[in-house]
């Protein structure tokens, strides 16, 4: 090891986060992404993203075991804003909307579990975005918690990446399913100049920080984990469109490497000479 650059050093110099993310093929094409949220107003998104694939989906209700067909409408504007972020990050993903809020405006853990299973078994999604969470105080029953954990673990063992929003304003309060990290990727909010930027910020129940602002709707400037999560989901979809067979731990490693590589670039740029 005499410090002389090798061919591998040359290869790694060429391989940068930007090269990966800005690759013309990194559009999310061929990647199925499920967003478990409040539904999507497809006409609003179609007007903003004319190149997008048609959105498919289903409506899950707390009191019905079988899902209802998705008719192109939202139960809450939140879902449309989340979908817009995913499409902004990865415009060619195949988006599936699992509307778990329905007319009551709230969702039970069982409904979320059914939606996750549907996304895995029926839609064969590779990425699941959960811009929602149940505060710890509201999910005390160990059995229910274990059921949700088993579902998240099942997703992991079936090579499905689950991104979940960490709790917004209570650093001491955990939120489920984000608290189940590491089988899923828990996302906190941050502010980045480039929406494709993100940070590895490991602490209890949080692994990554992503851009916390949105682009569609009235609360786009309000930093929120709800907006950060689809940013990272979209970035993962971009990477998966380059190598669709990548496993969750490989994606996570790649995300970690990209963050470290960017930091290294920044520190080099700041170093005089």
């Amino acid at each position: 090891m005499n410090g002389t650059p090798t061919v591998f050093d040359e290869i790694f110099r060429l391989l940068t986060p930007e090269r990966l993310l800005l690759d013309p093929r990194a559009t999310g094409e061929g990647v199925a992404v499920a967003m478990i949220d409040g539904g999507v107003e497809s006409s609003v998104l179609a007007a903003k993203h004319p190149q997008m694939h048609p959105i498919q989906g289903a409506i899950f209700r707390n009191d019905q075991p079988q899902p209802f067909p998705y008719l192109g409408h939202q139960s809450s504007p939140h879902g449309t804003t989340v979908a817009d972020i995913i499409l902004t990050m990865a415009p060619r993903v195949t988006l599936y909307s699992a509307d778990v809020f329905g007319p009551t405006g709230t969702s039970e853990v069982d409904t979320v579990i059914r939606a996750i299973r549907h996304a895995i078994d029926v839609w064969n999604c590779k990425v699941i975005n959960l811009s929602l969470g149940v505060p710890e105080a509201k999910l005390q029953q160990p059995a229910k918690r274990a059921q949700l954990l088993r579902t998240v673990e099942e997703a992991y063992y079936r090579d499905v990446l689950v991104f979940a929003a960490a709790h917004n304003e209570h650093p001491l309060t955990r939120s489920y399913p984000a608290a189940f990290a590491p089988p899923l990727i828990s996302v906190d909010k941050g502010l980045f100049a480039d929406p494709l930027d993100f940070a590895y910020a490991l602490r209890e129940t949080v692994e990554f920080q992503a851009h916390g602002r949105a682009y569609l709707g009235p609360f786009t400037r309000e930093p929120a984990t709800s907006w950060a999560t689809p940013h990272l989901s979209g970035i993962a979809a971009r990477l998966l469109s380059l190598r669709p067979e990548m496993k969750p731990f490989e994606i996570k490693t790649l995300l970690y490497w990209m963050f470290v590589a960017r930091q290294s670039q920044e520190s080099k740029a700041e170093t005089p000479g």
Binding site: T81, G105, E169, R221
Partner: protein
């Protein structure tokens, strides 16, 4: 209620003897002894009579059977024992039809033992039948009074309001508007009824209802705020980039909006919106709003729980009323009919924030009641300790409880 025995005999020594025998028997029955038919009828008009011991020949031309026929007018369920010196002359079929259940023959062995045996035999038959009659009568009175009261209760506006916003919440809202210095505000409430009907309401800070909400909940600002789970600020250019959201008429023409969600229960949500503060809303305003909404959540949850309890009670009474239509068929008045139990289970399953199903709740309540009845309150305390121990053990095993 003790049974009443009416003795009618024109011979004073007979009346006294019968009365003494009954008193000595110690059965606790009420005994009324009367000499003639007219006085007996006057008494029976205003007083209960369960068993009549009547002399066949009352003198003055009246007879016991005729008296019994008249007594039946006041007490259709009356039972009688006839005391006669010529029982063979009685017309058994007519007498039986009128309520005569036994004869005591003065000319045969009328002893203390035969008398008391005959009376005891009838009292033993009377008691359960009387109990059943009293139960049915009580049930009919209950049905009648509930039937009158229930519509009044149901039509009470407070109970029919699906989103009862207690006065305390309105006061708190007004206080918040003043505290933050907001120029105006609105409290938006949404409730989904059991049959899926949506009620979407809004109130101004003075508590008045804002008449029409033009935008459906799914496209409303309130729905977005609820999804955000925390106070949100909307300013200037945000109002131009509404995307999937439409503003209600009272939300338009404002420069800024600070809003926070109050999630009361499944299908019941409230959003507090504050408009236009000169100089803009501050971080402190946000904290005030957060604190207020947490307080509002508690008030509204308690109000809802109270309302659900009332509803539970009304539904239970309604189903009891329905079940009492077949009250004759209820073998055990102490037990609850299936209809009532089913209604209770259904309602308990609908209860907001429930953690166990209705059937389990009722089983637990019944087990505790039975335990208390059989073994007293100390056994219930022991049971509570056991439950506490199991809870502590599970908390320790799961290692998740943060108290």
């Amino acid at each position: 209620m003790a049974e009443t025995v009416l003795i009618v005999d024109d011979e004073e020594p007979v009346r006294r003897t019968f009365r003494d025998w009954l008193a000595q028997a110690g059965w606790g029955v009420n005994v009324v002894a009367i000499a003639d038919a007219e006085a007996a009828l006057k008494h029976a008009q205003d007083n209960p009579v369960d068993l009549a011991i009547l002399d066949w020949n009352l003198g003055m031309g009246s007879d016991g059977l005729q008296l019994l026929e008249d007594l039946v007018e006041f007490h259709p369920d009356i039972v009688a024992i006839m005391v006669t010196g010529f029982a063979h002359q009685a017309t058994p079929l007519d007498a039986l039809r009128m309520g005569v259940r036994d004869y005591l023959d003065k000319n045969q062995e009328l002893t203390r033992e035969t008398f008391l045996a005959a009376v005891r035999k009838q009292l033993d038959r009377i008691a359960p039948a009387k109990h059943q009659r009293e139960f049915t009568r009580g049930l009919l009175q209950f049905r009648e009074s509930v039937g009158r009261i229930l519509p009044l209760v149901q039509s009470t506006a407070a109970l029919n309001d699906p989103v009862p916003l207690p006065e305390a919440v309105r006061h708190l809202f007004r206080f918040l508007v003043r505290l933050t210095g907001a120029a105006d505000g609105a409290m938006v409430g949404r409730h989904i009824t059991e049959d899926g009907t949506e009620r979407f309401l809004a109130f101004s800070p003075d508590g008045k209802a804002i008449p029409t909400l033009a935008i459906p909940f799914g496209r409303s600002l309130a729905a977005t705020v609820l999804s955000m789970n925390e106070p949100c600020l909307l300013m200037g250019e945000d109002l131009a980039t509404l995307g999937p959201v439409d503003l209600q008429p009272f939300e338009t023409n404002h420069e800024m909006l600070l809003a926070a969600p109050v999630v009361v229960a499944d299908g019941t949500h409230v959003v507090i919106e504050l408009f236009d503060k000169p100089g803009g809303f501050t971080a402190e305003d946000r904290r005030h709003l957060t604190g207020t909404t947490e307080f509002c959540t508690e008030i509204l949850r308690n109000a809802l729980a109270e309302r659900q309890t009332q509803r539970l009670l009304i539904n239970a009474v309604e189903s009891a009323l329905k079940a009492s239509e077949t009250a004759v068929g209820i073998a055990n008045p102490a037990g609850l009919p299936d209809e009532v139990m089913d209604q209770l289970k259904t309602d308990l399953n609908r209860t907001a924030n429930r953690v166990v199903d209705g059937e389990t709740s009722l089983e637990l309540a019944e087990a505790i009641r039975e335990l208390a009845v059989r073994h007293g309150s100390s056994s219930v305390r022991h049971c509570l300790r056991l439950i506490g121990n199991v809870r502590d053990m599970l908390d320790e095993l799961s290692g998740e409880w943060n108290g």
